[in-house]
């Protein structure tokens, strides 16, 4: 379903992704693990038509995201790592907007929005503007929105960041159900090893833009001679802490804080 060969992305002199290759079968749940700045999000961006690879090849359901963008976009849904909702719109409007863009028929749309907002406990706040939401509520809305249409491939980029255990549980139960009943292929990244172990059929560990190991959680443990995935992860990627660049978005957030009344 997803296929990558020698996939590379350079930003000037910096090489974010350095010739990675992997395959995800139809109906598989595939987890990308890696420290901050390993290149996980850049990889997802190349798979989801947001970035063009510097070299190498990718295919999604037999389509090239770099050239057959429109067709590719019909195949997947995505929950982004950082915010992608409109603050000025209400929770319901954000959902509805998504439903229209993804051509979910009106009747089904209304029913599914209600179902999902109730599932993620946002129904009572559906007519409130998102700018009044807490971080956890915003995150829940992003996830609920990601489930509004049923894609062939679902990308989840650190979906559980900042979520409470209840919502995390809801999320993974929902992901597993989609995977089992609708045969949705899932490509996820996370920092929580136990989540990867719980849901993923196969795991790839990425570091400094390369895939350093791939296999099931059992295989990775055996390969590194460790007892837990966490230990295997540390054995493969080392124990030093990675710095991520702040860049313009951080400056921007600061500016906005100045301007907000």
């Amino acid at each position: 379903m997803i296929w990558a060969r020698e996939l590379t992305k350079n930003f000037g002199a910096i090489s974010a992704v350095q010739g990675i290759s992997f395959e995800v079968a139809k109906g598989e749940i595939f987890a990308f693990l890696g420290p901050n700045g390993a290149g996980k999000t850049t990889t997802i961006k190349m798979l989801t038509t947001l970035l063009k690879p510097s070299s190498g090849r990718v295919e999604l359901d037999g389509l090239d995201p770099a050239t057959q963008q429109q067709e590719t976009r019909k195949r997947f849904g995505i929950v982004f790592q950082d915010s992608s909702i409109d603050d000025e719109l209400t929770a319901y409007e954000n959902m509805d907007f998504h439903g229209v863009l993804y051509k979910v028929p009106k009747r089904i749309r209304a029913a599914r929005i209600e179902e999902l907002l109730k599932l993620f406990e946002l129904w009572d706040r559906r007519d409130h503007q998102v700018k009044h939401f807490s971080g956890g509520m915003r995150r829940r809305l992003e996830i609920a929105r990601g489930f509004l249409h049923t894609p062939k491939i679902l990308f989840l980029d650190e979906p559980t960041l900042g979520l409470d255990p209840q919502t995390r549980n809801q999320l993974w139960t929902h992901v597993k159900r989609l995977n089992e009943t609708e045969n949705v292929t899932v490509f996820l990244t996370t920092h929580y090893m136990e989540e990867a172990e719980r849901v993923a059929h196969r795991i790839a560990i990425m570091d400094h833009g390369r895939i350093v190991a791939q296999g099931s959680s059992e295989e990775l443990k055996r390969q590194t001679g460790t007892d837990s995935l966490e230990e295997a992860f540390l054995a493969l990627t080392g124990t030093s802490i990675r710095e991520e660049e702040g860049g313009s978005i951080v400056r921007m957030r600061r500016m906005v804080k100045l301007f907000r009344r």
């Binding site: 961006k45 989801t48 038509t49 947001l50 970035l51 063009k52 429109q70 976009r73 019909k74 997947f76 995505i78 982004f80 950082d82 915010s83 992608s84 909702i85 409109d86 603050d87 000025e88 719109l89 409007e93 509805d96 907007f97 998504h98 229209v100 863009l101 993804y102 051509k103 503007q129 313009s248 978005i249 400056r251 921007m252 500016m255 009344r261």
Partner: protein, 248 residues
Amino acid sequence: MNAVYILWLRQLKRYTRSRARVTASLAQPLLFLFALGFGLGPTFQKAGHGNYIQFISPGVIGMTVLFNSMFSGIELIWDRQFGFLKETLVAPVSRLSIMIGRTLGGATTALIQGVIIMGVCTVAGFRVQNLSLLPVAFLFMALIATTFTALGTGIASLLTDFQGFQLVMNLVVMPAFFLSGALFPLGEAPAPIQFIASFDPLSFGVDGLRTALIGVAHFGIPTDLGVLATFTTLFLGFGGYLFSRIQL
């Protein structure tokens, strides 16, 4: 088509919900109207050009539409910074329809602002000469709005953060306004100014507005309409192209 509509609707909702922005963006044209309109009025009258409020009002309306539409276009940077752009860019709709929806939405809000200012001008003493030509005036406002929202969107597609915003204001918006004949009769201006003005879409927009509203023409409506519509098409193409090439 639905995508165009929902993006248009979103721009409108954002506009009606940010009262602070509505008020703030009316302040500047009011300043021009009152300070210049009343300040220079007597001098203008002595020079034999008649009522300055009458002359400057179409210019101030054009300016309002210019500023608001450019701003709507540039707003794309905010969407990029706050992540909402990603949501629209991965959706299974053509980038062109997203760009068109955004642009029409932004243009509609600019048009509304222009109509509000027209009302304010009337309070200040401005009188529309021929009410039956009012639809023509609205057509020109809509064209100015679409042209500059598309231009703003195109420019914003190239900018990754707000550093470039000031640059656009100083190098595009201000010259477009001051060199358009919004504040002075182009026919009396020195040849170099007239020459530069003939490359400024707003010159034709303001001239069209002025002709429709008070019956004073420099280029004349057919030229105004032809040139402005060409700019609109050109900038929609330009904006659409740059927007479709955005990578995040």
